[in-house]
Symmetry: C2
Subunit: 250 residues, 2 copies
């Protein structure tokens, strides 16, 4: 499994991805799922992938090198597409071409599915965040729902649902994303450390932060402990349910 989340707020974009891959529970490994594509001062894009690792790696390579689309001919690369919208379209094309390269029909595709988060900004254009489905179509984060998740998304969704808005600061978005990742890692062995994090500030046209959090990271360990402690304190502070007395039986 995998868990990746992108959060797009007024000040910028946060992307977080775990690094655990597994083929069964007895065959786990660490692979980077968060990739950057930068042209200094001109574009800064980040891509996170979930799903089949082989297909994901093909997609990332196709994005870097460009490829021959069977219907439209040679494509741009992720370094040359003129807009984020076109970049999302390119990711969708790359997913379809990767499926084709692997010799699979559409019916076979489920276990080889790959889903992609694409975020970033090209100079003169808006900072945007997209999710590209394994069918190649894509959707965009909005001010109503400023975050997108791929992979094992359920455990970490409640904290985002409750707390993330467009007005959330970048630091808070990163913090909430890390809490969401922590909840996921506690409940799903398929999601694990290290975690890659990235921050792209609006209009900076650069990956302003790229960092790997591992098991010895003092901030993340402290965050996990504080969050656990705060949750314990939070439920302890809620009064006891009043239903026990009087006893009602139905």
């Amino acid at each position: 499994m995998t868990y990746c989340v992108g959060i797009l707020v007024r000040d910028g974009l946060v992307m977080i991805a775990d690094t655990r891959t597994n083929a069964g529970l007895d065959n786990i490994a660490t692979f980077r799922k968060l990739h950057f594509f930068q042209v200094t001062g001109e574009r800064a894009l980040a891509v996170a992938t979930a799903g089949n690792l082989a297909t994901s790696q093909v997609v990332v390579t196709l994005l870097q090198e460009g490829f021959e689309d069977p219907t439209t001919g040679p494509t741009d690369t992720i370094y040359t597409v003129p807009s984020m919208f076109k970049a999302a379209h390119l990711v969708g094309q790359a997913i379809r071409v990767a499926h084709h390269m692997e010799g699979r029909s559409a019916e076979q595709s489920a276990p080889f599915d790959v889903t992609v988060l694409l975020g970033g900004q090209i100079k003169g254009r808006r900072l945007r965040l997209f999710m590209v489905y394994s069918a190649g179509n894509f959707m965009e984060a909005s001010t109503d729902t400023p975050y997108l998740q791929i992979g094992e998304h359920k455990y970490g969704k409640p904290i985002l649902d409750r707390s993330v808005t467009e007005e959330t600061t970048l630091d808070d978005a990163l913090k909430l994303g890390l809490i969401s990742m922590d909840s996921t890692m506690r409940s799903n062995l398929g999601v694990g450390l290290p975690i890659d994090i990235a921050m792209i500030k609006r209009d900076s046209i650069a990956v302003d932060l790229s960092y790997r959090i591992d098991q010895s990271d003092p901030y993340f360990n402290d965050l996990r402990q504080r969050w656990s402690g705060a949750l314990r304190a939070a439920h302890q502070a809620i009064p006891a349910p009043p239903y026990s007395t009087p006893v009602k039986t139905g």
Copy 2:
């Protein structure tokens, strides 16, 4: 969808079930999923069902009335089985017979699956909590993992993972179960109010509490608000991530 949770602690058992059923998003209804089977002073059992509603209703009726098992002949009813283990086996038989009555082969069964939580105590025996799978086999809650969930379990699992132990008080178990239910209802429209709750104290051999929480319930509304507020305060109290300075790009 459905969400039901059973929590077995030293002092007793808590069972919580939502009541929303749906056939698509445009056809929702309210049905009770938490059922009691009591013989005063002799047994107190609770059953929660998730999955296909028609099959669930057949299973509950078979448990009450007994049935003819194709291989073993006439069965006990849930009012006459001599132990909780035998009751769990009876639930498994009932699920298989229900599948058979519905004229389905094993291959067809997936969309008609039903999963059951069975908890309770028979006089002179232990209070126990089981989960019965749609194949008819079953497993039991333990001191290591004193809770079992059926239906849409992921959103509400992190709080249970963090906080529920065998030493948790009954009131706390109920409170944590309600927080778990709240997290699930916020993220999945298929799980909704009203919620049925039950408490069976160890060795009381009675359903000590049976209560329905609806939208106007002041305690549950207060719990939801307090929990949201506490989560907000909790993440605000965590220091900002230190990664932003110095900027590291990789």
